[in-house]
């Protein structure tokens, strides 16, 4: 039971990271980045390649983050920037196009066979208060907590954080206050991509890395942000953990083949009866 819980919590943390970085982009641009799962997939593959060169673990991690940061900037410039004044739908479709592109690019570069990334830990289990847990799971939870604390500190206690939040709330007003919105949006994409990099590095050892991991992650992240409330950062985290736990408990106690169908039914149900989520934005249109 505790093991099931720990597995769900670890998965939930991954969903929380993906959901959080997804919502960062949504808040800054009101765009839904459907290629977000592919960012995680790409970083997992990059991490695999970095490890394969024989580089030490920490160096591989840094290389992945650097690659993702650069990627985030380019992605923003190529995909978001030309569409910034167009309806939401345009960006959605462009990112769907990019996700197809990225999956097939990965297929060509890394091949169709799932890849195994070695674990950073020598032991395969740790005993914590009488419960046997995988070290990766503890690691994931610990890293996620660190990321959230760092994120909070940057957003609420630094000048750049205030500028980022100001841009997310009102681009025009921020611009009048001397903030460069395009630069802030670029920074948001970079931060978001690095968060995806963290998620990729964390999932690579526990999953087999293949081109389909992105789709599963983004679908769960969608449920997470809906549960938490669209646009809310703490909501994305809480929602992610709820989805991780829900998924594993449904799989263990109800039906493992229908777990996705059950999760998505819940998504639709929630959208209809409780669209604002736990911490969410108001849904009604203003007159």
């Amino acid at each position: 039971m505790a093991q099931v819980f720990a597995t769900g919590l670890a998965m939930g943390c991954i969903y929380a990271l993906v959901g959080l970085s997804f919502i960062l982009i949504y808040n800054a641009t009101h765009g839904l980045n459907f290629a977000h799962g592919e960012l995680v997939m790409l970083s997992a593959f990059v991490f695999y390649s970095a490890i394969s060169t024989g580089a030490p673990y920490w160096a591989a991690v840094l290389m992945t983050f650097a690659a993702m940061a650069a990627f985030g900037a380019v992605y923003q410039r190529l995909l978001f920037f030309p569409l910034r004044d167009r309806p939401m739908l345009a960006f959605v479709i462009a990112t769907i196009g990019f996700s197809i592109f990225a999956r097939n690019l990965a297929l060509l570069v890394w091949g169709p066979n799932p890849l195994r990334v070695p674990s950073a830990f020598s032991s395969s289990s740790v005993n914590l208060l009488g419960v046997v847990l995988a070290p990766e799971q503890l690691f994931i939870v610990a890293i996620t907590i660190c990321v959230l604390v760092a994120q909070y500190a940057v957003f609420f206690h630094t000048d750049i954080g205030r500028r980022l939040r100001a841009t997310a709330q009102n681009v025009e007003m921020a611009q009048l206050m001397g903030i460069r919105p395009n630069r802030m949006i670029a920074i948001t994409f970079v931060v978001s991509a690095v968060l995806c990099g963290i998620a990729g590095v964390l999932v690579a050892p526990i999953f087999l890395v293949d081109t389909d991991i992105g789709l599963n992650l983004i679908l769960k992240a969608f449920i997470a942000v809906i549960i938490g409330g669209f646009g809310s950062l703490p909501g994305a985290v809480v929602g992610g953990i709820v989805v991780g736990l829900l998924e594993i408990f449904v799989a263990v106690f109800i039906s493992s083949v229908y777990k996705d169908a059950i999760c998505f039914s819940l998504l639709i149900f929630l959208l209809i009866v409780f669209p604002q989520g736990i911490f969410g934005e108001r849904v009604a249109e203003k007159a």
């Binding site: 569409l83 167009r86 345009a90 769907i96 196009g97 999956r103 060509l108 998505f264």
Partner: protein, 605 residues
């Protein structure tokens, strides 16, 4: 004259396709393009016309395919016809089930809900083995048969598919040009305004989903017959994305675009003749590039080229010539309403509207009498616009009662209130920006002998005469405000003043008893305000009662019969213009206590 000729040519070409395409392989591709063309047409109904993003069309497509497969597999091909109908109907019912959440969800919420629906269906197709046989799929689906004549082989199937697609396109074409098409466009462009103009928003949205789902189900049914074997891997998110790309690459919101996109995307991988991954790579990048560089799709691109090369200049590109035409043309007045002048038409009693802790309206009592011009003034944030929103059904008041023409409208839906004869305009323009001037006005028009969906799709005599009547009403309204010169202009090419007047015309076209104007003079210069005063007086002469919310005091003082002053959601004064002008409380509300004192000192000294 050109159009029928082009249609005839296309028809002949379409008939000749199987004669020209000799290879069975290519004919199979043509048939696939027909099926996906139908699916793309179906998506275009919700996405292009109603503006609702669906990412779950593969699920609907799959339902249609499985219904037909389960009914006919291993049986006679004669069963195809009932299976085809049932596929369409059953998928339509599922479409209704998606349509209902769509009422409450907009934009990204709907996108995610439909995505979730698609995933649920995929999960079911894969795992509900008792019915769908999971990955094994269902085979042995017979070709459609009339008993004595079976549609075996790709050539015969081609004509069947072509017929179905042509019927679907004809119906969708009629839908787009009909009053329902305009209403859907209105919902797409400005949902709130559509409701206020009398469009039953939820019913129309659900109907759009229903029609789209029926077409998707029919496409699925045809697909099952074409391939005679179906397995769940065809009905996954990638297919939803592919159909979406077809609509976009062809040209969203057009009749031919989706079919063009389906043909291109079906043939492109075969033409490129490279490995699947490389193709997918190009395809993915192509979608992104297309949306960035050619938002109108191939059809939009073709139109732009046409305009540049051959047609030189279209009407849209003409510079705006005579915006400053100052003389109001002589116009025919609307049919006069019999008015019992002086009796209360709109009555609000004890209306309170709270937003969280903010009290926007506090125990407000107000009556607007038939035939008068009643002005509602007050400082910013005093609750004027809130009152209009409450009266037009956009907000439900926290407490209190509102009645219009002796029937209660408290908490009633905007389109029902509009139907009673209560019209309004918006402070920030809410026009249907993709429509022309006259189409904007047409959305407001209603006839007493309205034809239904069947009439419109079958293009009955009644529906056609209704359309003529609607056109006449819209032109009358445009004549009334003096904008008939601009009737076919795209609305966004008009200057601000004219756009405001189009909103007024749209309200007039509803033949309302009461029209509420929310700051009609905002952003107008003095000359424009003078013209506006003329128009407001004319409205009253035509038999309409007017509730005017306005900050422009010269305007209010010139036209109003009675003025109500609000401050912090309360009524602080009511009376004729001269008494309001001298009311100390009103002066204080506008200018503050100390200024009022100074003014008084100034006056006495």
């Amino acid at each position: 004259m050109r159009r029928p000729a082009i249609m005839l040519m296309l028809f002949v070409i379409a008939l000749a396709v199987p004669l020209v395409v000799s290879s069975n392989y290519y004919l199979r591709l043509v048939n696939l393009a027909l099926v996906f063309g139908l699916l793309a047409v179906s998506l275009n109904v919700v996405l292009g016309y109603a503006g609702q993003l669906s990412l779950g069309h593969a699920g609907l497509f799959g339902i249609g395919a499985y219904v037909t497969a389960l009914m006919t597999a291993g049986h006679s091909g004669v069963l195809f016809w009932p299976a085809f109908l049932l596929s369409g109907l059953l998928t339509g019912v599922v479409g209704l089930l998606i349509g209902f959440p769509a009422l409450r969800l907009k934009g990204h919420y709907l996108a995610l809900a439909t995505l979730g629906f698609g995933e649920i269906m995929r999960n079911l197709f894969f795992n509900w083995r008792e019915v769908t046989h999971g990955m094994d799929g269902i085979g042995n689906i017979p070709p459609p048969s009339l008993g004595f004549f079976a549609f075996t082989g790709d050539t015969r199937f081609y004509y069947l598919g072509l017929l179905m697609l042509a019927i679907a396109m004809l119906l969708v074409y009629r839908l787009e040009r009909s009053k329902y098409g305009r209403m859907l466009a209105a919902i797409r462009d400005a949902e709130l305004a559509a409701g206020v103009v009398g469009v039953n928003v939820p019913r129309l949205k659900v109907t759009a989903f229903f029609i789209s789902a029926v077409l998707a189900g029919c496409a699925g049914s045809l697909y099952a017959d074409l391939s005679s074997f179906i397995s769940p891997d065809v009905f996954v998110f990638d297919v939803s994305a592919q159909v979406l790309s077809m609509v976009l690459i062809g040209g969203i919101g057009t009749t031919w675009g989706p079919v063009l996109g389906a043909v291109v995307l079906t043939f492109l991988p075969e033409m490129l003749r490279i490995s699947k991954s490389y193709y997918q790579l190009i395809y993915g990048a192509g979608i992104a590039a297309m949306i960035i560089f050619f938002p109108g799709g191939l059809l939009g691109m073709a139109k732009t080229c046409w305009r540049l090369l051959i047609a030189k200049k279209s009407a849209d590109d003409e510079p705006y010539a005579d915006a400053e035409a100052s003389v109001l043309p002589q116009i025919e007045v609307l049919p006069r309403r019999t008015t019992a002048s002086g009796s209360a038409l709109l009555v609000a009693e004890g209306v309170t509207m709270r937003f969280g802790g903010l009290v926007a309206l506090n125990d407000l009592a107000l009556d607007v009498r038939e035939g008068e011009i009643h002005a509602l003034i007050g400082p910013n944030g005093s609750g004027k616009s809130t009152f209009i929103n409450v009266a037009s059904g956009i907000y439900t008041p926290t407490s209190g009662r509102i009645s219009f023409a002796d029937s209660s409208i408290t908490g009633s839906k905007p389109w029902l209130i509009a139907g009673l004869g209560l019209a309004r305009t918006f402070q920030n323009l809410r026009l249907f920006h993709s429509l022309s001037v006259i189409e904007n006005v047409l959305v407001g028009c209603r006839t007493s002998a309205a034809s239904g969906w069947f009439g419109v799709l079958a293009s009955t005599a009644k529906a056609r005469s209704e359309n003529i009547e609607l056109q006449r009403m819209a032109e009358e309204a445009l004549n009334f405000v003096g904008l008939s010169r601009f009737r076919d202009r795209p609305i966004r090419t008009l200057p601000h003043e004219q756009q405001r007047i189009v909103e007024v015309a749209r309200a007039i076209a509803m033949r309302p008893r009461l029209i509420m104007l929310d700051e009609p003079a905002a952003g107008m210069n003095p000359a424009e305000v003078d013209r506006l005063i003329e128009r407001i007086k004319r409205l009253r002469e035509a038999g309409m009662t007017i509730l005017l919310v306005e900050h422009n005091m010269p305007l209010v003082m010139k036209v109003a019969d009675r003025i109500t002053v609000l401050n912090h959601g309360r009524k602080i004064a009511e009376g004729d213009p001269s008494s309001i002008r001298d009311n100390p409380e009103v002066i204080e509300a506008y200018l503050g206590h100390s200024t009022r004192k100074r003014l008084l000192q100034h006056a006495t000294s």
